[in-house]
């Protein structure tokens, strides 16, 4: 028999809603999965991104060609809230698409490699895809693009219980997460407390990144992470933080009304990402979906008043409409590339919000000062 030099890989196809199919090597779980296609141009922090609840319902394409170099950090005795590299208790993306991964990891903090982590988490990924081409395709799409990861293996499982909202979709559907209120899928069910500081922060969990809580806790705060639909009037705290989270800010149940109540009071309120959009909506402004979101660690923003510039970490599909900003509010930060609103501030009251992530993780720490300054407002 003729010998052939060959290596067998398990294959998977990325099936896109525009009809394009791309084939690559299956990494991670032998599972069918679907979501909205988004890309990130961040070159590091893949574990932070994959556990960031804002990516719920999305398939994340990493534009950087080598993902997994330093492995996945081992978690601190399973306590993800305290473990660097994890922004929530597990993978939130529907899947990942990468150009290449490497299994040998040597970083002293690493526990597993990327492939093992995906497998254990029941999440599929595809490697060996021309990710630059895919990024361009997502970038140039005239409407949101959806994708399905379909392993070649017919026995691939389909799990629609991973998150609450997935129950709405079948094995062959393109999952479009923004149709649903995603907060119940990612928020804590019961309050959790972190830190023992003198300032008491109530963090409304719309799918918070743990680093928000960590930074507050490191700066003399006790942070109470509350379920998304908590009754805000019953909470005893010094200040409020509205977290980031997935989905359409207008599709968040009664959250906007809840936040309206906060804006009637005088306690400091800080909104981050989805929290920023929700605060803007509660103040009376409008939001709209961007044709393509900002997802990277190099979004340049500047403080309008001072023209101080910062590199920011971002992950969002919606923005606050500048013209809709009600009286009494001002633009705090602006994007240096496209002029979009990156933060708003109340003119008299201690209410402020940022579209970007001052807690970074991943990405630059240029705007951590926002959290520190916010804490100072607690008299």
């Amino acid at each position: 028999m003729k010998q052939i030099l060959k290596k067998e890989y398990e294959k998977a196809v990325l099936d896109l809603s525009n009809g394009v199919k791309m084939e690559g090597r299956l990494i991670g779980a032998n599972a069918v999965s679907s979501g909205e296609m988004v890309f990130s141009t961040g070159m590091l922090a893949y574990s932070e991104a994959m556990t960031d609840p804002s990516y719920l319902g999305q398939i994340l394409v990493f534009s950087f060609s080598l993902i997994g170099n330093y492995g996945i950090p081992s978690s601190n005795e399973g306590d993800f809230l305290k473990s660097y590299g994890y922004e929530s208790a597990g993978i939130k993306t529907q899947g990942i698409i990468v150009s290449d991964t490497f299994d040998d990891c040597f970083h002293y903090e690493h526990g597993k490699n990327l492939r093992e982590w995906l497998l254990l988490s029941g999440v599929p990924g595809i490697a060996g895809i021309d990710t630059r081409r895919l990024v361009q395709m997502i970038r140039d799409a005239k409407k949101p693009l959806f994708g399905r990861i379909v392993p070649q293996n017919k026995n691939a499982f389909y799990d629609n219980t991973r998150f609450e909202f997935l129950k709405n979709f079948g094995r062959t559907d393109f999952v479009d997460p923004s149709q649903y209120n995603l907060l119940p899928s990612v928020s804590v069910k019961t309050p959790i407390t972190l830190g023992k500081g003198k300032n008491k922060i109530a963090l409304l969990d719309f799918g918070t990144k743990f680093n928000i809580a960590r930074i507050f806790a490191q700066n003399d705060c006790t942070v109470e992470i509350l379920p998304w639909d908590s009754d805000v009037e019953k909470v005893n705290c010094d200040a409020w933080v509205l977290s980031n989270g997935p989905g359409d800010p207008q599709n968040t149940g009664g959250v906007i009304n809840n936040v309206k109540k906060l804006l009637k009071g005088n306690k400091p309120v800080l909104g981050i990402c989805l929290g920023h959009q929700i605060m803007a909506l509660a103040a009376g402004a409008k939001t709209r979906k961007l044709l393509r979101g900002h997802r990277s660690f190099n979004q340049p923003v500047f403080e309008v008043e001072t023209r101080r510039g910062f590199m920011t970490s971002q992950n969002h599909s919606f923005e606050v409409n500048r013209k809709s900003l009600p009286k009494g509010w001002q633009v705090w930060f602006e994007n240096a590339n496209d002029g979009s609103i990156e933060g708003i501030k109340h003119k008299n009251k201690p209410f402020m919000s940022a579209q970007f992530h001052p807690e970074a993780s991943g990405g630059p720490n240029d705007t951590t000062w926002i959290i520190k300054e916010f804490i100072k407002l607690i008299a």
Partner: protein, 1102 residues
């Protein structure tokens, strides 16, 4: 804030800005500053400023004359800067774009009050900040005040203190003594026992030693940071060294972006980098180097360079972000927020590029060119150039970069250490040299583990494991080919047949991991026909069948853009690379476009430097102007040719046959220019011609006739043109027969060298035997080329352009040194001054004949030896030469442009330039970097040793000579002079300038014979002997002399050794050293015009 007020035009008159260049290329300060200066000039001109450039580096693009620009080819020293300031009265001076040289000058000028006196402002980082970043103690204090750690270090005077401090710092520690030469007292101590021994022995020799924390094995990480005057900061790129701390970053393999750092480590260092430059208040560009522990979050800042640097040039090319261009705008007062990213044209310059690829730099060493140099890599940089590769994975970039730097399609898998013992290989790992990567790969081939190699090298295992993976892939392929028996006559079909048995996906994986067709073909040949030897030509020819098979299987590389945004924004970026790790092209080349590909020069190295980049840039600009799509292929990040707007499309790629063919397949050019980038692209000529690629200019036949020694020699014989006698000897008997005929001295050039230099002059039987003992056994496969070595003859060169065998324009220049000094090291005078009319006529006649016979059709350079009107031809290069920019700028006639017109088949008529009308004399002189090359003998010989050159112009020879020498670090003596003037006849000749020696009014020392000779003629000289104290070495060591003339008496080995010791020490002790008689005489004679030159106010400019 827009442009600074004092830079705004006054009454419609443009303001002037003085930009300092870095002078001649030397180790540690190379071509990167031509790139940054050129970008800065573009940015400044755009803002309506008149740029005054001071830089004697005549081959640089930045010294091209242009409207709104004046170029001064003078030494970059405070003295000359002040003269230019006085004449031009610029509003401001820019220091950040000319390396350390320009920075030091501006610091000095500020402190001496010159800048204040003339009201010249310093643009960018202010002098007080520069001084702080340069001063170790001030810097360290500043860093501690902002909480950034610097490596702990303390001076001690006793063993007890040493142990106490070491305990505080933590082991391992390094001991260092500040005042001792030759590393006396330096060492590494892992524990108190070792330290006690080291310190005790060191403290007997010196009163004080430094105890420093050893960071050997830590990761070395760099950040390129830019800050504007408002205080906004960006980190444009981070880079990680493949080699651990301990090897100079200029000698390290460097990858961008960092690969093994996680988010927390990266942002911790990024925060520190920003904090540092905020605290120094840098305005413009800055490079920050860190050492990071591989096991904890501990780090130290090692160094800060508040200027454009080699790393910033690399970062600029690695990311596509034009750092120097933006930095130039920033130092003029612009805010980053108000500038656009020039690559996208739409987004903000206040931006940190995101990469979707990796890029890898590998330095190029030319250590084999130096006698006696230590090849070991350490804290002293030794490399002379670099290459950068771009790809989508580490294996790909590593393999590409090694092929680029070796100029060899075999790359990493070349079996350099095949016959080495494991012990030898492991010792290579412990004491790394420039060959360490090959040793690592060989060990992996032999089954060594990543862990064991890491233990020996301290190289991050992530990098090693990729090399290991490549060795596994090679192993699999070889294993697969193991049972194949190739027929005795191998045809391309046989090759294709076996590669067809490799699964398409597997083959694509091999390609995407960077294996070249040549490598894969050689795996097959060396496995399945192991007994046979194949030439590079044969393997290349056979590999074409693999190429054809791949194309049939649609395994071809794709073109990707470098756009700074990882495709987040659509850009029209023309900055491209090829990869097999992808399936789609970013750009589509419309076949109706007429495109011309210019092949660049590749890495700078000894013998091919900036001048060939100048030629490439001129060529690309010419075709751009002709409305062709002008394409450049080059892989050298230090160049102007790889600037984003030097061409219409830049392929940052290998100059290998396979890759050039890939690009030719994509571009379908109307022609390829291979004769403007020096020898490297010229070597591709036969392969490209065979593959049917249209070469512009000289035909392959022409190049072949000029390059092939035997063919060229036969042509000269036929044309009755004289040449030095030579032979290619295949045995000792043949060698002896040749020497019998021509006599000593002879030039020997072995085809295989075990160690030492390639070429040597043998003066007698003893030296001949010695040099032959260094070569492999002489045989028909490894012949030795011998040529007659003519003493006391002049060397002349003719540079020009011919069209269809007819000379259109040519210029003759002469060497100051007699024949025997490599033309790349020689001092060149143009227009020539001291040659007979008869010699000129003979040369012109010979040039006409050769041009006609070879059908030269493009740029050429022919070298001659002349003795008493007897003219012999040494060699002919059917390509642009090293002296093209020099001749062009001095004559005012652009040779490169004429060459382009010929290649473009445009009508050009004969050009006559009357050299007598050139109002000045130009001198091109070479720059040597021996100070950086421990152990190297700083002598001029038949092998080229210079790392750079300058070209200065003066009213006459003397002025130009003085300027050129000062520009190459030959300083006027201040303390004392040591003479050793060679043979009797040399001593007689030297008397011509002896009065100028004594006119310095300094003590004159001389070696035994020279002193005797001088004393006999009534000149007072302190006589020094080798065996009687004080010896010449003592005098140098004690700092009694700072100027040494050392002309060797003969090529006798003992004589050579004595003098070698003097020369090495002179260089080490920072003395000016001249080793050539004619050059020494010319220099000393030039002092006749010294006063006149110093008093001159009206400096000549281009």
């Amino acid at each position: 804030m827009p442009i600074l007020n004092f830079l705004k035009p006054v009454k419609n008159k443009k303001q002037k800005v003085l930009l300092l260049g870095s002078g001649a290329l030397s180790i540690g300060q190379a071509g990167e500053f031509d790139y940054s200066g050129s970008q800065a000039i573009k940015a400044l001109e755009e803002e309506g400023l008149e740029v005054i450039v001071l830089n004697p580096n005549i081959a640089s693009v930045q010294t091209n004359p242009a409207p709104n620009k004046k170029v001064y080819l003078y030494p970059v020293t405070p003295f000359w800067i002040e003269k230019i300031i006085k004449k031009e009265r610029p509003a401001a001076i820019i220091a950040g774009f000319g390396g350390q040289t320009s920075l030091n000058c501006v610091i000095e000028l500020e402190n001496s009050g010159v800048l204040k006196k003339y009201g010249v402002k310093v643009l960018g980082t202010q002098v007080s900040a520069l001084e702080m970043s340069e001063d170790r103690d001030l810097f360290s204090k500043q860093m501690h005040s902002i909480g950034v750690p610097t490596p702990p270090s303390k001076a001690v005077r006793s063993v007890e203190d040493a142990l106490k401090i070491a305990a505080e710092i933590g082991y391992p520690v390094i001991t260092r003594s500040a005042y001792a030469l030759g590393g006396l007292g330096s060492g590494l101590a892992e524990n108190p026992q070792q330290l006690e021994k080291l310190a005790a022995s060191a403290l007997t020799a010196v009163p004080q030693i430094l105890i420093e924390k050893s960071l050997h094995g830590w990761k070395e990480i760099e950040y390129e940071v830019m800050r504007d005057s408002r205080g906004n900061c960006i980190t444009i790129c981070n880079m990680e060294n493949f080699d651990p701390m301990g090897i100079h970053t200029g000698d390290s393999i460097v990858i961008a972006p960092c690969q093994t750092l996680n988010n927390r480590e990266n942002n911790m260092l990024r925060d520190a980098a920003i904090k540092i430059i905020q605290s120094i208040a840098v305005v413009g560009e800055c490079n920050v180097q860190f050492a990071l522990s591989p096991f904890t979050l501990e780090y130290f800042v090692i160094e800060v360079n508040a200027r454009l640097s080699r790393s910033s040039a690399l970062a600029s090319k690695a990311t596509g972000y034009p750092i120097a261009f933006v930095a130039a705008k920033v130092v003029c007062g612009f805010e980053l927020l108000e500038l656009k990213n020039p690559v996208t044209g739409t987004t903000s310059a206040f931006y940190e590029p995101s990469l979707d690829y990796v890029s890898l730099k590998i330095p190029r060493w030319d250590l084999k060119k130096f006698t006696g140099v230590s090849k070991q890599l350490g804290t002293q940089m030794k490399s002379v150039g670099e290459v950068m590769s771009i790809g989508r994975n580490f294996c790909e970039v590593m393999q590409k970069a090694i092929r680029m730097v070796q100029e060899d399609e075999e790359g990493l898998s070349k079996e350099i250490f095949k016959d080495a013992q494991n012990k030898e290989l492991l010792s290579e790992l412990l004491n790394p040299t420039n060959m360490r990567v090959f040793a690592i790969y060989e060990l992996f081939r032999r089954g060594f583990t990543v862990q064991s190699v890491q233990n020996h090298t301290k190289i991050e295992p992530w990098f090693l494991s990729h090399l290991y993976y490549l060795s596994q892939l090679e192993g699999e392929v070889r294993e697969f080919f193991k049972n194949i028996k190739l027929p005795s006559k191998i045809t391309p079909k046989d090759i294709a047949k076996h590669f067809k048995d490799i699964d398409r996906e597997y083959l694509k994986r091999l390609k995407s991991r960077g294996f070249s067709d040549f490598q894969l073909t050689k795996f097959l040949l060396s496995t399945a026909a192991a007994q046979r030897k194949f030439t590079v030509k044969e393997i290349t020819a056979l590999s074409l069948s693999l190429r054809a098979l791949r194309k049939k299987l649609k395994i071809t590389p794709v073109v990707k853009q470098i756009d700074t945004t990882s495709a987040e924004y659509a850009t029209k970026s023309n900055y491209l690379y090829l990869t097999y790790d992808g399936n789609f092209n970013d750009v589509s080349i419309k076949s109706k476009n007429r495109s011309v590909i210019t092949l660049g020069s590749g890495s700078y190295r000894i013998g091919s430097s900036l001048e060939f980049d100048w030629c490439s840039v001129m060529t690309s600009r010419y075709f751009k102007q002709q409305k062709d799509d002008s394409i450049i292929i080059n892989c050298n990040p230090e160049t102007v040719s790889t600037d984003y707007n030097s061409s219409d499309r830049l392929y940052f790629e290998e100059l290998s046959f396979e890759r050039v063919m890939d690009i030719a397949d994509i571009e379908r050019p109307r022609g390829v220019v291979a004769c403007m980038g020096g020898q490297n692209p010229n070597n591709l000529t036969p392969y490209l011609a065979n593959a049917g690629v249209k070469l512009l200019g000289h035909s392959y036949e022409t190049v072949d006739k000029a390059e092939d020694r035997t063919k060229f020699s036969a042509i000269l014989d036929r044309l009755c043109i004289d040449q030095p006698k030579w032979t290619s000897a295949a045995s000792r008997a043949e060698i002896d027969a040749f020497i019998e005929e021509v006599g000593f001295p002879v030039l020997i050039r072995p085809s295989f060298v075990l160690s030492g230099t390639l070429m040597n002059v043998a003066n007698d039987k003893q030296t001949l035997d010695y040099y032959l003992s260094l070569t492999k056994d002489i045989s028909a496969d490894y012949p030795v080329v011998l040529s007659q070595f003519i003493l006391d003859a002049k060397e002349l060169e003719c540079d020009g352009v011919a069209k269809n065998g007819e000379v259109l324009v040519s210029f003759i220049s002469e060497h100051v040194e007699n024949a025997g000094v490599h033309s790349g090291d020689a001092t060149m005078v143009f227009p020539s001054e001291k040659i007979y009319v008869k010699t000129v006529n003979s040369i012109r006649d010979i040039v006409r004949k050769i041009a006609k016979e070879l059908k030269l059709n493009g740029p050429f350079n022919i070298q001659f030896i002349a003795k008493d009107n007897d003219v012999k031809v040494i060699e002919c290069n059917a390509r642009a030469s090293r002296s093209f920019p020099f001749i062009t700028k001095v004559s005012g006639h652009n040779l490169a442009e004429t060459a382009c017109k010929v290649m473009d088949e445009k009508p050009v008529s004969k050009i006559f330039v009357d050299e007598s009308e050139i109002p000045y004399t130009g001198i091109k002189a070479s720059m040597f970097s021996f100070q950086r090359l421990d152990g190297a003998d700083p002598i001029l010989g038949v092998e080229m040793a210079s790392t750079g050159e300058v070209g200065c112009i003066g009213k006459n020879f003397n002025e130009a000579m003085l300027l050129a020498m000062e520009s190459t670090q030959i300083k006027t003596p201040k303390k004392g002079i040591l003479l050793s003037t060679g043979r009797e006849r040399d001593k007689i000749k030297f008397m011509e300038v002896i009065n100028n020696v004594y006119a310095f009014g300094l003590p004159v020392y001389a070696t035994w014979g020279t002193a005797e000779y001088l004393q006999a003629r009534g000149y007072n000289a302190v006589q020094l002997g080798y065996h009687k104290s004080p010896t010449p070495l003592d005098i140098i060591k004690e700092g009694k002399v700072d100027f040494v003339i050392n002309v060797h008496k003969s090529l006798d080995l003992t004589e050579l050794e004595y003098n070698s010791a003097i020369r090495k020490l002179a260089v080490k002790c920072n003395c000016s050293l001249l080793t050539n008689l004619e050059k020494s005489i010319a220099y000393l004679k030039a002092f006749d015009s010294y006063q006149a030159l110093l008093e001159k106010e009206d400096l000549i400019h281009l």
